[in-house]
Amino acid sequence: MVTAVEFLNYTFMQRALLAGNMVGVIAPLVGVFLSLRRLSLIGHTLSHVALAGVALGLFLGFFPVYTAIIVSIIAALAIEKLRRDYRDYAELSLAIILAAGLGLATILISASRQSAGIHSYLFGSISLVGTRDIYMILPLALVIIAVILKYYYGFFYLAFNENEAWLAGGPVRALNIVFMVIVSITVALAIRVVGTLLIASLITIPVAAGIQIAWSFKSTIWLSLFFSLMAVNLGLIFSFYYNLAPGGTIIMAGVVILLLVLTGKKVWLLFQQKI
C-alpha cells in the first residue's frame, strides 16, 4: 500500500533524512555569518576544493568524506591566511584556490579507476548515505552547533564589522580560524546530501530568504534554519518519489521558497501601502 509517508519505511531514506536534517541545520548556521560577511564565495571555493578531496579519497581508496574534510580544512586555513596577508587580492586568492581545487579534482578523477562513483559526489545521493556517514555527520554537526553557540557574539561582532572587532581587541584571529574550520567541515559534510556543485547554494539560499523577512539577527538565524530544513525535507522526499538527484531537488525547493518569500514580501508591502 502506498501511503504518504511510505518513504519512512526505508532504512536508506531514514538515514538520508537524518543526515540531510543535520546538514540542513549547520549549513544555514554557518551560512548566516558567511553571507553577512560577504564571504559566500568562500563556500563556493571550498566546495570545489572538497571535490578534490573526494577525488583524492577515491584515488587512494580512502573514505572520500574523510579526505574531503582534511583537504577543505587545509584550503580554508590557506584562504584565511591569504585573506589576511593580501587584503587587496582576497578575491584573486579565492579564484586561484578554486581553480587549483577543480584542476586537481579533474586530474585525480581521470587518473582514478573508480571514477564512476564521482557522480554521486557531484550531485548528492540519498541511497548512498551509509551508517558510516551518519556516525560522522552526527557528532561533527553537534560540535559545529556547540561552537556556534559558544562563540555566537564573537562571530556576530566579526560579521558586523571585522575591522572594529580587531580594534576592539577581540580574539579576531582565533575566531576567524575557528570559523573557517567549521565552514570547511560543513562543506565536506554536505557533499553526501547535495553534492559538491550545490553546497554553496544550500549555504546561501535559505539565508537569503531568511534575511528578507528577519527583524533581528536571531530571527535571521531561526528563519534561515526553518527554510533550510523545509528545502532539505521537501527536496529529499521529491528525490525519493521521482528518483532524482537530491542535490537538485533540495536546491530547487530552496529557490522556490526564496521566490515565494520575495513575492510574499512584495505583496505585503503593497498591502501596507494601501492602508
Binding site: 553577512l36 557574539y153 558586523f160 533581528s216
Partner: protein
Amino acid sequence: MSFLKVEGVSFAYRKEQALNQVSLELKQGDFAAFIGPNGSGKSTLLKLILGYLKPTRGRIMLKGQPVEDIMDWSRVGYISQQVKDFNQSFPATVREIVGSNLYSKMGMIKFLNQELEKKICRSLELVEMDGFINRKIGNLSSGQQQRIFIARLMVNDPELILLDEPLAGIDIRAQDDFYRIIANINQELNKTVIMVSHDIQVISKHANKIVCFEDGRAYPHCSQEFSYDDYIHELRRTNLRIIPRHDH
C-alpha cells in the same frame, strides 16, 4: 598618580614616522580633545593607547600598568573613525548590537540573561535611546547610530573612552545632544574621555585639556590657556596642509 601616561612615544608605520616623542598625561575624569590636521597622528595615538599598535619607542601606562599588558579589553572603550563602515542592511537590532560587546562575559548557551539585559537598557538610557531597543541598526540615522555605539561601549563600564571623530557628518542639534551625553558620562560617571574632532571651536569649549597634533608631535594645553583664534592664526601662518573650514 596619573591615570594615563604617555612617555616619549614614537611610532612609525613601516618607514613613515607617524608619531615623534609624544608625551602626555591625563588625570582620571579628564576630557581631552585631540585636534590637528589630517595625518598629524591623532588616530595613531589612540590605537597606541588601545594597545592595538606597539610604540617603537617610549611607553604608555594606564593606571601604572603598561597598556600592552592589559588583558581585560572592556577597560577601554573605543569608537574608531571607521565605525560607520558596516553593512547597513545588517539584520541586527539595537539590543543585539549593544549586547554584542558583552560577549566575552557570555559562556556556552548563556545568551542574554536578565542581568545583561538590564545592563543594555541602562546603557541605552545613558545615551537617551531607550525606546529604540528593538529597532534595526541600519534603519537609524547616523547620529542615532553613533549614540548606539556609545551605548555599546558603555555596556562594559570602561574606565577610559576613546572616540575618533564621532561627530563627522552629524548635525548641530545632534552634536549638542552628543556632547550632553558625553559630559554626563565624563562628569557624573567620572570617566576619562579622549575625543578627536576637527570642529575645534566646539570641542575646545567642552574639553578641559586640548592636545594639538602637528606632524607627529603633540602639544598639550589646558583649556583655559587655549585660544581658538590664536590656534587658527598659527595654523595659517605656518602654512599647514589642512585648515578648518569655518571662517570667522
